[in-house]
């Protein structure tokens, strides 16, 4: 049996805003095994951002159990959480969050700076490999302003995989991209998934969810659906079917 990467049980998260307690997650349980490509869907306010923050070890649940790669996250110190994020998680954001006026390779190297065991030579090599993998071998010295949105997101993906994480967490990673570029990015995600990467992908676009192999739908802090995807779309094929730009 494959290794369990994410295991959450009865997770609750409550915020105290003024005198009112807002319950963003009302007891959620699921687990993700190695090699899964899970999309987490839900409308805004459904609690998916809160869930992602908890999965990303940026936030702690009010109650419940969260184990990431067999490590119990609860009660870890801030610094221990930072170490966990550095070694086990790759983040991808909707707005890329690349450092401006910093070259692609430097952006990709960034997580490795926070890992003292990686030498500067190894850091460079790994960043180059990651950029190769996302197809930007010839753009290493370009700054974000010299790259298109899709290319910027590829740099961000390279940055997310450079530390060889156990799970990639993507937050609306295609939200700022047009359909064609979205599909290109999804093809890249599928490629990474085929290479064995576990991916948790938050989105509100149903067509994007079809590229994954499992969909979890949240509403009002509960899981209302957790199904495997029957007919997984192959992004590379979907891309073929899209009308070419000239025809538009």
């Amino acid at each position: 049996m494959d290794k369990t990467i994410i295991k959450i049980e009865e997770i609750k998260r409550e915020f105290l805003i003024g005198n009112e307690t807002v319950r963003a997650l009302k007891g959620i349980s699921f687990s993700v095994t190695q090699g899964e490509f899970v999309t987490i869907m839900g409308t805004s306010g459904s609690g998916k951002s809160t869930l992602l923050n908890i999965l990303g070890c940026l936030d702690q649940p009010t109650s419940g159990i969260y184990e990431l790669d067999q490590v119990a996250v609860k009660n870890l110190s801030k610094n221990a959480l930072a170490k966990l994020r550095n070694e086990k998680i790759g983040f991808i954001f909707q707005s890329y969050n690349l450092l401006p006026r910093t070259t692609a390779i430097e952006n990709v190297e960034l997580p490795l700076y926070y890992n003292k065991t990686v030498s500067s030579k190894e850091r460079k090599e790994r960043a180059e490999n990651a950029l190769n993998l996302v197809g930007l071998a010839d753009r290493m010295d370009h700054t974000p302003s010299q790259l298109s949105g899709g290319q910027q997101q590829r740099v961000a993906i390279a940055r997310a995989i450079v530390n060889d994480p156990v799970v990639i967490l993507a937050d609306e990673a295609t939200g700022n991209l047009d359909t064609r570029t979205s599909y290109e990015i999804m093809a890249l995600f599928q490629d990474l998934n085929n290479r064995g990467k576990t991916i948790a992908f938050v989105t509100h676009e149903p067509d994007i969810a079809l590229f994954s192999n499992r969909t979890i739908v949240l509403r009002d802090g509960h899981i209302i659906k957790d199904n495997p995807v029957d007919n997984i779309n192959i992004a590379a094929e979907a891309l073929q079917k899209l009308p070419l730009e000239e025809e538009l």
Binding site: G56, N79, A82, N86, E87, F93, N97, L110, Y114, N163
Partner: protein
């Protein structure tokens, strides 16, 4: 994160905003440069005073009458007549710390030669006076012990007297001038010495045997002062003690009596004048330091702006594994880099402007290594102090909030 990487990252961050970084540094640059220049000017004037006083004879000791307190009446020092030839004899025979000693009496009057006349002072001194005051004979000779015994009417004159009485180029040696109707035969001329620190013309001087001046001009037995030279500069203080002890015995002073004389070494004079310039230096440096503080506040302000601007970057760095301390160090190193780079430029500018001041204004200056080290250290501390709060603010951000910051 490794220190070298921290410095690299901070340096790159500054490179991205070159103009801003330079303007922020400017406060520090001006502060450090002015501190160094002010200290150099202060130190320079201190040294020049010291040199001038030393040129008067660094191991010279002077004994003045003073603090004569009799019958409840305090008298002006110049009127007191507590120094006598007996004291001189006592000092000559008993002291072991001095090499030369000479009495000094002086009086003012008009020196006349032919149709020229000049108001000046006559100094009645001993034959060792030139050795004590570091005066040199340009031509002719100094009078001798024998001249003193005889109360001979001979004189050695300074260059100002030569200029004013022998303007036509006559060789003064062998000529006879009159001072207060007394004729003096000139047997020697002193080398030029120039003006001293206090603006006194050291060449406007006539030296004559003290016996002659006492008897023929002042008609007084008392001495205006006694000058002596300690065997070396190091034992000057010891000599002051010894001379005081001898004089107390000579004056029959009881243990609780006040001294009725003053013995001063040049060292005391130096420290008196040095302390005046020291106060001035402190003032100048205080003003310069204010600009350093203002520069520091500039750094703090810019670092706050920078933290706000880069909130998302901070959020990202935290998300990918940056700990609070990493973020803190990143911004702190940036602040220190600004202040230290500014400090370096300031040191160079300070040295440069000091050179300018000494070249064009001909002010005495002296850049001390300690002023450079101190202002540089102050810079680094300024960076840490004013960089700390913005860096703390950055490190305390919540990554979730920071990542979504618009």
């Amino acid at each position: 994160m490794k220190t070298i990487n921290l410095i690299k990252i901070a340096w790159k961050a500054l490179q991205r905003n070159k103009t801003r970084a330079f303007l922020t540094m400017l406060g520090i640059i001006i502060g450090v440069a002015s501190v160094i220049a002010m200290m150099a000017i202060g130190e320079g004037s201190k040294q020049s005073i010291r040199n001038q006083i030393s040129s008067m004879g660094s191991n010279m000791l002077s004994i003045m009458p003073g603090s004569d307190f009799r019958g409840g009446v305090r008298r002006d020092n110049s009127e007191s007549q507590s120094l006598t030839l007996t004291d001189l004899k006592a000092l000559q025979t008993k002291s072991t710390t001095i090499s030369y000693i000479s009495p000094q009496v002086n009086g003012g009057g008009q020196a006349i030669f032919g149709s020229n006349n000049w108001p000046t002072s006559i100094y009645g001194v001993g034959e060792n006076y030139t050795a004590i005051r570091k005066l040199e004979i340009a031509s002719g000779v100094m009078f001798t012990e024998n001249d003193i015994k005889m109360a001979a009417k001979v004189a050695v004159i300074g260059q100002t007297i030569v200029e004013n009485l022998f303007g036509d180029g006559t060789d003064p040696v062998g000529q006879t001038i009159r001072f207060d109707r007394i004729p003096f035969k000139i047997i020697g001329v002193l080398k030029e010495k120039g003006t001293n620190t206090f603006g006194q013309d050291q060449d406007d001087i006539i030296l004559a045997p003290y016996t002659t001046v006492q008897k023929r001009i002042l008609a007084s037995e008392h001495l205006r002062s006694i000058v002596a030279s300690a065997k070396s500069e190091e034992i000057a203080d010891e000599a002051v003690e010894e001379l005081s002890d001898i004089l107390r015995v000579s004056h029959n002073l009881k243990a609780d009596d006040e001294d009725d004389f003053h013995v001063r070494s040049q060292q005391e004079l130096i420290s008196t004048f040095s302390s005046t310039t020291a106060i001035l230096t402190v003032l100048l440096v205080a003003i310069a330091s204010i600009s350093l503080v203002v520069g520091g506040i500039g750094i703090m302000n810019i670092m706050y702006v920078s933290v706000t601007e880069r909130t998302r970057e901070i959020g990202l760095r935290m998300a990918i594994g940056g700990r609070g301390v990493d973020i803190l160090m990143q911004f702190l190193v940036e602040a220190i880099l600004i202040s230290v780079t500014g400090g370096l430029i300031g040191v160079l500018l300070g040295i440069g402007s000091t050179l300018g001041v000494s070249t064009y204004l001909r002010w005495p200056t002296s850049v001390t290594s300690e002023s450079i080290i101190i202002s540089f250290l102050v810079c680094a501390i300024t960076g840490i102090f004013f960089g700390w709060y913005p860096a703390r603010k950055a490190a305390g951000l919540d990554p979730i909030v920071a990542l979504r910051y618009e």
